[in-house]
């Protein structure tokens, strides 16, 4: 069998190879030149989405279209193929494929404790293994007949193929899915430069996080710019050279998720590159943002399968977001069409290619027009590759890449019979190509029977009527036919017929059960009147019902519409101003245009929505100085001791449910920090909790940028004794800091032609007082050391965060000018906090230090007002000063006190209305507003809960019905979000997931 197959391939190659002229490859045969002229006649030819020729002809010669039109003269040397009743469509182009180049991928790097600091790639390449700009897919491409067959079977004729490995992935190559030699099927050697955020098979530590990957890519752009001038110090860097060489190619970025698409586009904007974005299938959830990128997209058809949600215990942990996405994912391409965003479609991301066409039909039922669908598979990808002159439609001179189908290609039961690639025929499905249905007259042993062939064109049913109706089995293999007849009346009458089906006549030998044999013949007497395939023109059934709607964010507690600013008048309430005015009894506060417009008695505004604050308390919104919510990927870029180039701003995730949960605890702003894994961590981002808005809109505008530093046990990897990363002691930490700032000073002295170094840029900003530090710190020795370093380099450590031994050196902190952001009462969870005391905040405050209380914890963040109250309990702090520790004080240390943090006319209306004394355990926030917009309303929250319940119920029932209806399902997948903390392993038990994992670990101990 194998030998036969090999032989067939050889024969085929010999035939195909000689279609063109001279070539270098020697022949192991005599020359066998052929024109490969084929005429397709009587076909419905779809030239492109705009043009269809009825009863058309197309002549193909030497792999290209020679002529196309109606009633063309047929060349004498043509092989004629009658396509009556059939449809010819350009075959599809998939520009996101790894056909023929897919390599074994190692599992993504070695994490933060691997200790591989530099690349181990051989050759004069760049420093980081994940930057593989030098990779050239055309040099490793190998025709893969099995894979090609699979792709052809779903209508694809050409692909842009690249090795999907690394952050910069080098170039992709365009190949057809023919079986000829690599050099024949390759249409373009280098057709794209490809990128992603995934480090792939790199075993190097850096980067460990998404923000690290983004930083690496940005630095790579800068390095390449610098390398253009051939800097002497760098020598030969083939990675940077290749990156430069590839710049003129279409640049394709694998975002694979709506937010990552935007992140990629932002990097592109920074460096003047418009990426083609390969999406993840959830882009419809933020279509306006997608539109704003101006990018063309490549969209997958990876619609999720229904989950098995019969068991309510399993369905309980499936999020509404996932349920909704299951229902709405087919809307993705239609949303792009509606928004008029150009896009191509890809089969990438499908578990099984066989779901490509069915999913495409789902997308069409969900509103994607067939015209745009066809463009997305032909013209658009060809145009993106700048190859529309060669592929993507059926026109004279273009490659003969087309499909012959039984019906319009997207029709429900349309069969792809043949997928022609470069003028060569590849059969996808032969059954039904020749319509044999009709009425035949069968003569056997001098008797004549009426034989009816009807039903499915590919698998017709047979009926044989003579004296009586015979029970008949029909088996067709290519042109061979076997019939087995049994009389229903005469059980002894059994005949086996075998023969060959000609176009009109069938004939062969019959063997009777008696042992006798004879000839038989069947002749077609007429067509079946009903033989016209009913599915040919029938439109697929009515559009699917998708009742779900996009909410912002997409999922539970999302807004149907983004909330808007109102004029609001809060009447007769107790106002905790967090200003010198202190507490104002029975006072009104007017909010207009997002600002506090007036504070006083008997205020009025005819347009205002009146909120009765009687018996309630109004305070400034809470600001959490130390938070790790709303981040995509790891909050630590842990691979090096200095990663000041990593930026939280790149990885803000506006979908985090903890944003909403914290609004319910009165929080309006959070300072999102890098973790504490290394001495100089990443740049931070201050956000306002504008639930439902996108990442950019969450960011606090015009703020002084900050950066996270860390000292002590976490930095020296105390809990991972095998860590190879310098430093391992507080002594080493001090040197890391001194070295970093020394390098930054030297960097600043370099001339204009210097290589822009993102790490040193951030450090220079610190030296120039343009960026400010918040430093994770615990014990007095390290606090003191950092103050001394800062003094030496002439800057101020803006904030010490955690700072649990701050009370021991509060005087020094005050003298240096630092702020302190601490826990109320945490202690004893690690060695460096055994001297922590709940009076720390008070003692620092008494020394004149501006003190805030923070959470570093998504659970505690909801109760920061109560944490503030603990200073009243443990140290008799004044109540107003206690509340200030979560309002004006953090605003002050974040340099935004001029805009938020207190109740003062002109400031942003970032407010909380409490049901009770704001420091009391019995106080609930009833309203939380940011910029005068009510993002949390306890009454509205009740309604949201009801809506969540009814929407969940509907979708779970729909999934159950889908399963009953025979749809494939996957096991229910709980959607526990990973919570980020700075203190790893120390916040256990705050969530069910923590508890489950804890219990799972302990019950598995042996």
């Amino acid at each position: 069998m194998n030998r036969l197959a090999t032989l067939l391939v050889c024969v085929f190659l010999a035939v195909a190879v000689q279609l063109s002229g001279q070539e270098t490859y020697p022949l192991n045969d005599v020359a066998n030149p052929r024109e490969g002229c084929t005429a397709f006649i009587h076909a419905t030819i779809i030239k492109d989405s705009q043009t269809t020729i009825q009863d058309g002809s197309m002549i193909v010669r030497r792999g290209k279209i020679e002529t196309i039109g109606k009633a063309l003269p047929i060349p004498k040397d043509a092989v004629v193929i009658d396509c009556n009743g059939k449809f010819i469509t350009p075959s599809f182009i998939d520009i996101y494929s790894d056909y023929g180049v897919a390599g074994a991928k190692a599992d993504g790097g070695s994490g933060d404790r691997g200790g591989q600091m530099v690349s181990t790639t051989k050759g004069a390449f760049g420093w980081n293994q994940a930057i593989r700009s030098e990779a050239v897919s055309s040099t490793i491409f190998k025709v893969n007949p099995a894979k090609a067959k699979e792709l052809r079977s779903i209508g694809i004729g050409a692909v842009l193929s690249h090795q999907m490995d690394g952050i910069s992935r080098g170039t992709g190559t365009v190949v057809t899915l023919g079986s000829e030699k690599e050099n024949k099927v390759m249409l373009k050697e280098k057709a794209s430069a490809n990128f992603s955020f995934d480090k792939g098979s790199s075993t190097q530590d850096y980067p460990t996080s998404l923000m690290g990957a983004i930083a690496l890519l940005r630095q790579n752009f800068l390095d390449a710019q610098w390398y253009q001038n051939k800097p002497a110090g760098e020598g030969i860097n083939l990675s940077l050279q290749a990156f430069l060489d590839n710049k003129s190619l279409p640049q394709i970025f694998d975002g694979s998720d709506k937010w990552n698409d935007l992140r990629a586009d932002k990097v592109g904007d920074e460096f003047g590159v418009q990426f083609i974005l390969k999406g993840g299938g959830n882009e419809y959830q933020r279509i306006a943002e997608m539109k704003a990128t101006n990018a063309p997209f490549i969209l997958p058809l990876n619609f999720p399968l229904a989950m098995d949600v019969d068991d309510p215990i399993d369905s309980r942990f499936v999020s509404l977001a996932d349920l909704k996405h299951w229902e709405m994912a087919p809307l993705n391409p239609a949303s792009f069409e509606k928004a008029n965003i150009p896009f191509a479609l890809t089969a990438n991301g499908l578990k099984e290619f066989s779901s490509f066409i069915p999913n495409l039909r789902k997308a069409i039922k969900a509103g994607l027009s067939e015209k745009v669908a066809l463009d997305a598979l032909t013209k658009t990808p060809a145009t993106l590759l700048k190859m529309y002159d060669q592929v993507g439609s059926l026109e004279v001179g273009k490659l003969a890449n087309f499909l012959i189908t039984s019906a319009p290609v997207f029709a429900e039961k349309s069969v792809i019979f043949q997928n022609w690639v470069q003028g060569n025929k590849y059969i996808v499905k032969d059954e039904g190509w020749k319509d044999r249905r009709g009425i035949y007259s069968l003569t056997l042993n001098n008797e004549t029977y009426r034989m009816e062939l009807k039903g499915d064109v590919a698998k017709p049913d047979i009926l044989l009527i003579g004296q009586d109706t015979l029970k008949t089995d029909l088996e067709i293999t290519d042109r061979l036919v076997k019939l087995s007849l049994t009389s229903k009346k005469d059980s002894l009458f059994k005949v086996k017929l075998s023969g060959v089906m000609g176009d009109e006549n069938w004939n062969g030998r019959a063997l009777f059960s008696t042992g006798k044999s004879s000839n038989w013949i069947a002749t077609k007497s007429s067509e079946l009147s009903l033989a016209v395939d009913s599915v040919k023109t029938k439109k697929s059934d009515s559009p699917v019902r998708i009742e779900g709607i996009v909410t912002y964010p997409f999922g539970g507690y999302g807004n149907k519409e983004i909330p808007t600013q109102e004029t609001i008048l809060i009447k007769n309430t107790t106002v905790w101003t967090s200003e010198k005015a202190g507490e104002l009894a029975a006072t009104d506060v007017l909010i207009r245009n997002g600002k506090i417009a007036a504070i006083g008695k008997n205020l009025s505004d005819s347009k205002a929505r009146i909120i009765d604050g009687t018996g309630k308390h109004l305070s400034a919104g809470i600001i959490d100085e130390h938070s790790h919510i709303a981040v995509s990927g790891d909050v630590n870029e842990c691979s090096q001791s200095v990663t000041s180039e990593a930026r939280i701003t790149d990885v803000i995730n506006p979908d985090d449910i903890d944003i909403y949960r914290q609004l319910s605890g009165g929080v309006i702003g959070s300072h999102i920090l890098h973790g504490s894994c290394n001495t100089i961590g990443g740049q931070t981002q201050l956000i306002k909790l504008r639930w439902g808005l996108n990442a950019e809109q969450l960011k606090f505008s015009n703020w002084d940028p900050f950066i996270k530093f860390a000292l002590g046990e976490n930095v020296k990897r105390s809990y991972y004794p095998s860590s190879a990363r310098f430093p391992d002691t507080r002594m080493g930490v001090e040197e890391v800091l001194t070295d970093a700032f020394t390098r930054a000073i030297e960097y600043q002295k370099l001339g204009a032609s210097k290589r822009k170094d993102l790490e040193l840029e951030a450090l220079s900003e610190i030296l120039n007082k343009k960026r400010f530090i918040t430093c994770h710190s615990y014990v007095q020795s390290e606090i003191n050391s950092l103050i001394k370093i800062a003094d030496r380099f002439n800057f101020t450590v803006n904030t010490f965060t955690h700072i649990l031994e701050g009370y021991k050196v509060a005087d020094k902190m005050q003298a240096h000018g630092s702020n302190a952001s601490t826990f109320s009462d945490w202690w004893s969870y690690k060695m460096e906090v055994v001297d922590a005391i709940p009076q720390n905040a008070f003692l620092m405050q008494q020394n004149g230090v501006n003190v805030a209380l923070n959470s570093d914890d998504p659970e505690m963040a909801r109760r920061l007002n109560q944490e503030a109250a603990k200073s009243v309990k443990y140290a008799n702090m004044d109540e107003h000063e206690a509340l200030n520790m979560v309002t004006i004080n953090p605003a002050t240390m974040l340099h935004v006190a001029d805009r938020t943090g207190s109740i003062k006319v002109g400031k942003d209306a970032d407010l909380v209305l409490w049901s009770d004394h704001p420091l009391s355990i019995y106080a609930k926030s009833e309203l939380t507003m940011v910029d005068g917009i009510i993002y949390f309303d306890r009454e509205r929250d009740k309604k949201l809960r009801e809506e969540i319940l009814s929407e969940r119920t509907r979708l779970i029932q729909k999934m159950i019905n889908a399963k009953k209806g025979g749809e494939k399902t996957v096991p229910a997948a709980p959607s526990f979000a990973v919570k980020n903390y700075c203190e790893e392993g120390c916040h256990d038990g705050n969530s069910l997931l923590d508890r489950l994992e804890h219990r799972q670990t302990s019950t598995e101990l042996q």
Partner: protein, 425 residues
């Protein structure tokens, strides 16, 4: 991560000493009368302008108005103040760990999966510096619980003012602890439900054999593990089953039914979904910290705050705990966690009862403590204001078995030290 966290940790640590100038109080010598206070009995009732008279460690009388005591009585005027029964931490590793990240300070989880025979009491460190910070917020008793494995071991209740663990023992070996394997499948993991149920079958087999063993008084060889669970079969011990999900709780109930054990669920995050089932089966719950995030993304944002109210309404006997890795120093937040439940559906007295009478019942010590009633131990907390609200909680006196305990702790001593440095009064 957590495994590495603890297992790789090889830092040496000098074991903690008690605050050297503090010592446990001597036995009560003179009778004490506390008068004019607002007395929260711990069973839901409140006596305004009340008195408590106690002697020889026991409460003699509680009432309103005046009490005629003997002349040698010490008298405490509690005018304007609040009196409570000593609060009970119902599930904690207090005294079994000093510094979470320092492995050598941990004595809470033994190797192996079936350790009913290990006893928390013998490792309970009365000199832990954490203990004094707990009781100064009103928590005077604690149920010391081992963790890890399937059968973690045997727990005991201690009082928090003792020279050594023998002194501390309040109720010895009152419970056996079982962790149910997580019965929830997650993508990319092997079938946890199947393997979990298989492990539970091992546990069942263990108890089937233990039952047989304990039916037979004479043994050729002693089996310590079977001996350790004798009390469960005799009804002198409770089985504390640590689990959270509905499926796990149902398995726990079925399990306890097979052997006729007294059942207490610890954790019970999803207990709000099956309060009637818990009530019908007479199952008590030690609910994991109300200060938790909602279990599922779409859960009510305040679900953990209000689960207590759901159980209360259904008549389920329950208390709360702060367990897991911060389960030692955070015991001092228990009153505030109860306060949160009072914000979300319980009355303040119901919330208080969870930490007093309910906890005492669940631990089998309600004949000794849990309420301020005559005949019970004089475990009493005196606070300037509402004990469940951090804004007003200020414990100024506390008595364990009638002994007035020192409310100082390492932290307040450091506070004093640095007040001196900075000349703060």
């Amino acid at each position: 991560m957590r495994k590495i966290f603890f297992n790789l940790l090889l830092i040496s640590f000098l074991s903690a000493n008690a605050q050297e100038n503090m010592h446990p109080a001597a036995a009560q010598k003179n009778p004490v009368l506390i008068k004019n206070g607002t007395i929260h009995l711990g069973n839901g009732q409140v006596i305004e302008n009340g008195y408590i008279f106690f002697d020889k460690g026991k409460i003699v009388a509680v009432g309103s108005g005046n009490y005629d005591a003997s002349p040698v009585t010490s008298i405490v005027d509690a005018h304007g103040k609040q009196l409570y029964p000593g609060l009970i931490a119902a599930s904690t590793n207090l005294g079994l760990i000093e510094v979470g990240a320092v492995r050598s300070t941990g004595d809470y989880a033994e190797l192996g999966t079936m350790n009913p025979n290990i006893h928390s009491l013998v490792a309970y460190n009365t000199d832990s510096k954490v203990i004094n910070t707990i009781r100064s917020n009103g928590v005077l008793l604690a149920h010391i619980v081992p963790s890890g494995g399937l059968l973690s071991g045997t727990s005991s209740v201690v009082q928090l003012d003792a020279w050594n663990w023998e002194d501390a023992a309040y109720k010895t070996d009152n419970g056996i602890h079982l962790n149910i394997p997580v019965l929830l499948n997650r993508p990319g993991q092997p079938d946890q439900v199947k393997s979990g149920l298989e492990k539970m079958e091992e546990v069942r087999n263990f108890f089937r054999e233990a039952k047989g063993y304990n039916n037979e008084p004479v043994h050729a060889k002693v089996n310590l593990k079977f001996e350790a669970v004798k009390g469960l079969f005799r009804g002198t011990q409770s089985l504390f089953v640590h689990c959270d999900l509905v499926r796990e709780m149902m398995i726990a109930i079925d399990f306890a039914r097979e052997f006729g054990f007294k059942l207490v669920l610890v954790g019970g995050s999803d207990s709000w979904m099956i309060p009637e089932v818990l009530k019908e089966n007479n199952v008590a719950v030690i609910l994991s910290q109300p200060h938790s995030l909602p279990s599922a993304e779409d859960d009510d944002i305040d679900q953990p705050y209000k689960t207590g109210a759901v159980l209360q309404k259904a008549g389920v006997l329950f208390t709360i705990c702060q367990d897991q890795s911060f389960g030692y120093w955070r015991q001092r937040d228990l009153p505030f966690q109860a306060g949160t439940m009072a914000t979300y559906g319980l009355t303040k007295e119901e919330a208080l009862s969870t930490l007093t009478l309910n906890a005492a019942k669940i631990l089998g010590i309600d004949h000794l403590t849990g309420t301020l009633e005559a005949g019970k131990d004089a475990n009493i907390v005196l606070s300037e204001g509402d004990l469940l609200d951090m804004k007003s909680s200020k414990v100024t006196k506390a008595f364990i078995q009638g002994r007035e305990i020192n409310l100082d702790n390492k932290q307040s001593q450091l506070f004093e030290k640095y007040k001196t440095k900075y000349s703060i009064k």
